[in-house]
Symmetry: C2
Subunit: 418 residues, 2 copies
């Protein structure tokens, strides 16, 4: 327990109650229905606003559609906590909702305990998932000033609705997103609790852990080109089979990820002409590579380029790379990592820590704000599906560790350590 | 030159002239436009009918839409020659047209030389390509009685037109296809000349060769199943990556084809969920395997099943096979192979022979009729594209060897050797 506060009135059970209430209103047999910029997402926010309405907080929505609730403290220095209520279609009940409901409980407990030494703000980030318009971390990137408005103008959903036409229905003007950047003023720390969305904690028999940062990502498209040919008339030794080149690469790049303790994924593949009776003249694959260490990630990329060249050459093909996306690893803040470690130790009695393989709004915040995250386990490692779940005691522990980390973060702000 | 005939008046140059005339009327800058059951295909047939109209032949169309031209001989025993005028969209100028125009020249020359000892029939098979309704060898399969009428009823083209609605426009009644089977009565031999559609003859520096038969085909769909997972949160050692299993298989099956001197092709691939950020939980591939020897083909299939099991197991996946299509190897007739070999030796002075990797109407005919084929080279191995071509001297040689083979086939019929 942190030193400078009275005994916390934070109740982890109330976090789970809020999550179940949310699931009852915006979930169903097929999973969560909180796709951003839809009426069901607004319904989730209405529930959050109802809960906030009983607290001494100021609630408003910024220029990027993020919902903020400020509990004013003794000084303007601010701790921000939160996550996102939006979900993928047929998503899980926890995902971003855990962090928002834990933040709500933090405000509730702090308000009950008097005026906190610093201001504490809960944020419900808009469109973390990017599930409808393919731009994730929308709200947090807007606050950080890393959105490319020209790219946003080109985005449409599957029905052909343009993002720029949908946003005004939610009071968001694409030309005024920068206004949200003022929200960073006085912000000294950011804390987020989230489910792991992977199988590691469960495999270790642990319920929670400290998150050391979010992994950097290199995302590329590779086009292997050989020669399309008749499957019956082109002898094996004379073929230039682009799918064989892609297959060699897929196996080589898996070995690279494994050897560097990173992750590498070939998740999408398309062959041309793509028929049973023809050797594939062209094969396009996607590559996603992640590592918590920037140097290791750069090495993995360099080795992958060499592996792609070797795979292409072995099959008489060529290979071309098209860059899709890149984000650097975001290591979290040393003082907040200490706070999280101490809290996890108190709650579950161990020092397990993991990098996050998934991006989170914390990845954006960590660019310029001292940040840390807590993970709870994910049952069977599943997420973004109705099967997403976490044992209740793990949820309780993660909320507890989140509370303790936040109170330590408040101490660190007061002490000028962040 | 065969023994029993007068010196042949067959003129290979006239075959090329006919092909150029056909290309002028039904080709263009994008290639041939003779898709079966279309007005442009009828235009090609109109040209053929004009040429036949000056000869002493009986022309009619059978119940499956095949066009026949009979030059009556001294006996009803019949040699059938031909191929198909229909082409794929944007196809080449030679493909099936070479065999039809060479057959036309055979009728022209035989008619000029008097009454042949046996009846000689030219056939222009309907819908060899199956490019519109995905059922190749339509006309020859109808004559052989191997069409499945129930499957035909379900076929539609890309615009949704049903085959059963299009056929009546060409006088074809799907319930009366069997009538075409009477065309086999008195048929003693079938000879077809075709371009190789592959690169082997060119690579050997040869213009023509004897074709030993058409390869057997095993066509399968393989579904590798693992576990879809987040590309960032699922550690490499815990993955069950179906695409990696498919990649292992693709490389193993290429080795199998190579080692058995057959061909194996993975030409189409689809991953689910098929996005850059997810490990593929399910990967479906197509497999096409061909060999001229039935035992070797069976061995290749057995080895492929073992390779698929091993590839799946290595990645913690399962694999399921779905049968698509099977045809046995069709070795050609010994007496006619001798006729073709002697003719190729006379014309180009060598004994090169190849199995056909592609199916032809000859594959259907060979089921019950003594059959042989002659190949000409294909420039760069290309076919089914406007770039399809063959050096004119190779076309001349192939037509010449076809003529000599046909005259030897007539001798063989007379001598009762076929």
């Amino acid at each position: 327990m942190a030193n400078s506060t009275v005994r916390s009135t934070f109740d982890p059970a109330r976090v789970v109650t809020s999550l179940r209430e949310l699931a009852a209103r915006t979930g169903g047999p097929e999973g969560s229905r909180r796709l951003c910029w839809t009426p069901e997402w607004l319904e989730a926010r209405a529930l959050l606003r109802e809960s906030l309405s009983t607290l001494p907080v100021e609630v408003d929505v910024d220029e990027a559609g993020n919902l903020w609730a400020y509990l004013r403290g003794e000084r303007p220095d601010t701790l921000v906590v939160g996550s996102h209520l939006d979900s993928v279609p047929k998503g899980g009940w926890l995902d971003g909702a855990l962090g928002v409901m834990a933040g709500l409980e933090l405000l509730r407990s702090l308000a009950a305990e008097g005026t906190p030494p610093v201001t504490v703000a809960l944020v419900d980030w808009a469109d973390e998932e990017g599930a409808r318009f393919s731009r994730s971390l929308f709200g947090s990137a807007a606050v950080m000033g890393t959105l490319d408005v020209e790219i946003l103008r080109g985005l449409s959903d599957k029905e052909g609705n343009k993002l720029v036409d949908i946003l005004p229905q939610h009071g968001v003007d694409i030309d005024r997103l920068d206004g949200a950047r003022t929200r960073l003023r006085d912000v000294k720390a950011y804390v987020e609790v989230h489910i792991e969305q992977g199988p590691v904690l469960e495999s270790l028999g642990k319920g929670i852990c400290t998150v050391t940062g979010t992994k950097g990502i290199e995302r590329e498209r590779l086009v292997f080109r050989g020669q399309a040919a008749h499957a019956g008339t082109m002898p094996m030794p004379m073929r230039r089979d682009s799918f064989r080149a892609a297959s060699r690469f897929a196996l080589a790049v898996a070995e690279i990820g494994d050897r560097h303790d990173g992750v590498t994924t070939v998740g999408a593949v398309a062959c041309k002409p793509g028929v049973v009776t023809a050797v594939a003249g062209e094969t396009t694959i996607t590559l996603d590579m992640r590592h918590i260490d920037a140097d290791e990630l750069a090495t993995m990329l360099a080795e992958s380029r060499a592996a792609a060249e070797a795979a292409a050459e072995a099959e008489g093909c060529t290979v071309e790379w098209e860059h899709i996306f890149r984000i650097a690893p975001m290591p979290f803040h040393p003082a907040l990592l200490e706070a999280a470690r101490a809290s996890v130790r108190e709650v579950e009695g161990h020092d397990v820590e993991l990098p996050s393989g998934a991006l989170h709004d914390a990845s954006e915040m960590a660019r310029s704000v001292p940040t840390v995250m807590i993970f709870s386990s994910s049952t069977n490692g599943l997420s973004h599906t109705k099967e997403e779940d976490t044992p209740v005691d793990h949820l309780h522990m993660s909320a507890d560790a989140f509370d303790r980390t936040c109170r330590r973060a408040i101490d660190a702000i007061v002490a000028g350590r962040v």
